[in-house]
């Protein structure tokens, strides 16, 4: 089964930390991150922006820092617009089990199996 990522959901908490879900498989191919869920074998393809967020989602860096340091320098976009778009995106990815969201930074290695 395959699917595509769609539409924004609800706004996030003021400070959000994102980490990669340990339940998925992932590999970058031609600038896009391929993600497969082990639970239902759904295959996702993240676009360039989502791939940047995925790669930076270490659980310790806030989404705002990711947007400011990774997204804005890469694309000519103002930080607030970029942040709103990123909020929508990570909410969506979290609902699909690809990312995990937290209002607190991870204290230790967050990708253990």
């Amino acid at each position: 089964m395959t699917t595509t990522i769609t539409i924004p959901t609800t706004p996030l908490a003021t400070t959000t930390y994102v980490s990669r879900s340990h339940s998925v498989a992932a590999r970058e191919l031609a600038g896009e991150m391929m993600i497969m869920s082990a639970t239902d074998s759904t295959l996702f393809s993240l676009n360039e922006t989502a791939t940047l967020i995925w790669n930076a989602a270490d659980g310790k860096t806030s989404l705002r820092e990711i947007v400011e340091n990774k997204i804005c320098p890469e694309f000519d976009i103002d930080p607030e617009t970029a942040y709103r778009d990123a909020e929508s995106l990570v909410s969506n990815l979290a609902s699909l089990g690809i990312l995990q969201l937290s209002s607190e930074p991870a204290l230790s290695k967050n990708e253990s199996q």
């Binding site: 992932a26 590999r27 191919l29 082990a38 393809s45």
Partner: protein, 381 residues
């Protein structure tokens, strides 16, 4: 275009080895009568060597990793290996006989997010299954393992290798899979041993039996479609690749030898001596395999079945020519459609029935090699 098709296309265009089959051991706790492996012999990589291999595979872009054997769970470090593979974010599929899977193992495989487990079941009757595996009680232990895996939420595929000894039990295994909630695949392919011993071919089901399988809608779905005559050969078919072996897929043996496929044991290098990416990109063997297009296939390039045949380049290589026909697949194409292949006609099989009489008349493998899966049938669900 579906994402998986797009993924394969991108990998092909960029020369990325998307899928790897890694056998971590040839040792096994069963002695299945149709097995193509010798269970002793050329050694195994250490835990550290396998981890290093996995690092190399991840760096090369491998996404789908099948861990198999032998029986992989016979290695005491198997969970360390799988855990390491998952930490590198491979999509991991495990092939096992499930004999060693108990509560702890099933739970651990689920925790590690193994995507799928494939398990061979030869019959729903212990007498038949255990007779093939040569291990009394193996069916009961295998089914116990499958149920535990299912209880922990893992996806299980029951692979039913079909041979003369279990020919009547395919429906029983299919019903068993349905009852357990496992996927079911049927594979009527028996191949020579790696040491070239072709005596196993005597276990193959007869052509008449294969015809019965190919016309069973519960196994093949739409029979008319499955058995449809081949379409005309077009330019795309002539310029196309025979299969993914060496293009987006490869095999790594327990001692690090790299082949295009487990079914195509042409040694292209060894990961203990040379980086995998270097082997993948630069070995003369891989480059030779990759250079082959449909139009380069001797005999097959003039065969009406070229676009729809399951021709295995590994089996063709074992018959002596990687550009030549794979006779077992010629037979399958003929049995599906009742239309003789170019190989059959060239060999003088102008009468269709004459081809179907005996495997003894077919060429025997001349080179060291092994195969397992040529035609896997996914029944209609």
């Amino acid at each position: 275009m579906s994402l998986i098709t797009d993924l394969n296309r991108k990998a092909l265009e960029r020369g990325v080895p998307l899928s790897i089959h890694l056998d971590v051991t040839y040792r096994c706790n069963e002695r299945c009568e149709h097995c193509y492996l010798e269970h002793d012999g050329d050694g195994e990589m250490s835990t550290a060597e396998i981890k290093s291999t996995l690092d190399q595979l991840a760096a090369a872009g491998v996404f789908f990793l099948t861990i198999s054997g032998g029986e992989p769970l016979i290695r005491p470090d198997i969970f360390e290996i799988i855990e390491y593979a998952r930490s590198l974010r491979f999509n991991v599929k495990l092939k096992t006989n499930a004999i060693l899977i108990r509560e702890r193992e099933a739970r651990r495989l689920r925790e590690l997010n193994v995507e799928q487990v494939q398990i061979s079941v030869y019959s729903h009757r212990a007498q038949v299954h255990d007779g093939i595996s040569k291990v009394p009680g193996s069916l009961a232990r295998t089914i116990r393992g499958i149920r535990l895996l299912k209880a922990h939420g893992l996806k299980v595929t029951i692979a039913n290798v079909l041979m003369k000894g279990n020919l009547d039990d395919a429906e029983g295994v299919r019903q068993l899979a349905k009852e357990i909630g496992a996927h079911y695949t049927l594979d009527p392919t028996i191949t020579p041993m790696m040491n070239g011993d072709s005596s196993l071919l005597a276990l193959r089901i007869t052509s008449d039996s294969l015809r019965t399988v190919f016309t069973d809608s519960t196994l093949v779905g739409n029979v008319e479609e499955f058995c449809a005559p081949p379409t005309a050969i077009d330019e795309d078919t002539l310029e196309g690749y025979p299969c993914s072996a060496g293009h987006t897929a490869a095999y790594v043996s327990p001692w690090g030898d790299v082949y295009p496929c487990v079914q195509f044991p042409l040694t292209c290098g060894n990961v203990l001596e040379q980086n995998f990416s270097d082997i993948w990109k630069n070995s003369s063997q891989f480059n030779e395999v990759r250079a082959i297009r449909g139009k380069h296939l001797t005999t097959c390039n003039s065969c009406s079945h070229l676009g729809s045949c399951t021709r295995c380049p590994g089996l063709a290589w074992m018959e002596g020519n990687m550009r030549g026909p794979s006779t077992a697949d010629c037979e399958k194409s003929f049995i599906r459609t009742n239309i003789p292949t170019a190989n059959m006609l060239q060999r003088g099989y102008t009468d269709a029935q004459a081809f179907a009489v005996s495997h003894d008349t077919l060429p025997q493998p001349q080179l060291r090699g092994a195969t397992r899966t040529l035609v896997q049938i996914q029944p209609a669900r």
